[in-house]
């Protein structure tokens, strides 16, 4: 039994370090969701099913969704900024 704890804990640590090290933001968000997923299994093993349910519902599903909504909003603004700056430079060259 203790082996399962240690294995899950190691996976959780690796996922946490990888989430912080990854260059791609969406990959980092997914990996942070995996940290929460393994955490909820650990909570279930430690006899706290209420916490496990909350962590599974919130930590690994809703947090991922909220991060992605916010990040897609930021990337969309990045795109429009890039487009508008290109427009500005073109206008400047015409003058």
């Amino acid at each position: 039994m203790i082996v399962v704890y240690i294995l899950l804990g190691l996976m959780m640590l690796i996922a946490a370090v990888a989430a912080i090290q990854m260059r791609n933001i969406v990959s980092a968000i997914i990996t942070a969701g995996v940290v929460s997923l393994i955490g909820s299994i650990l909570f279930l093993l430690a006899g706290a099913p209420d916490v496990a349910m909350t962590e599974a519902a919130i930590g690994s599903a809703l947090t991922t969704v909220i991060f992605l909504f916010a990040w897609s909003r930021i990337t969309e603004q990045m795109k429009t900024d890039k487009k508008s700056s290109e427009h500005d430079s073109e206008g400047g060259s015409n003058d």
């Binding site: 349910m53 909350t54 969704v65 909220i66 795109k79």
Partner: protein, 233 residues
Amino acid sequence: MIKRIIIIITLIGLSFVLLPLFLNMEDAERLSELSQTYVTEGAEELGTANLVTAVVVSYRGLDTLGEVAVLFAATAGVTLLLGTKKKGGSVTDLLEERRGGSELLNTGAALLFPVLLLFGAYIFVHGHLTPGGGFQGGVVIASAFVLLLFIESDREFSHSVLHSLEALSGAAYVLIGLIGLWFAAGFLDPRFLPSGEIGRLLSAGAIPLIYSLIGIKVGSELIGVVDSLRRRS
């Protein structure tokens, strides 16, 4: 360079702060006295099968009230920062067309939406019998509406309905607490309704009622958060 050294020193200091926690802890053989009282008398006094629910709703009810207040403050902050629509149409003109959901996704979401609503209601009504309760059920209900946002992201939710649901459930929650103060022993004491038999749906006094109100409040608040965070066109 100096920055890096400061960071390393901070981390080492933090680990020394956390070290005594690790050294002094063994697996406890028995509960502390307060928890022992909650565990042995909670079932008898309140009639709940899930003792975590008893602690959340009744024994530590004031904490939950404060937690709901913090949640409300955070939601209000998100709405204040992002909720207003953009002025001026110059930004929206440059947006590229957003792709709609496929037909399979639309059908599946339409199939799953009532299931998710029903399931969330099941979770928070059975909060005193099985794991789960108002918070988890509220999240499941919020996720049903998030699913609607996935298939059609221009969908507008009625803000007045959300706000009135949230305000009404919050007010009813405090009101039930005050009724407990009047008819039973203290604030948020659920024993003004009959306790009933352990394991039945209609038992544990007012706990299912209180947890349902918390579930509706949390659900409407989280829908508000996601609705403010999504992209506007």
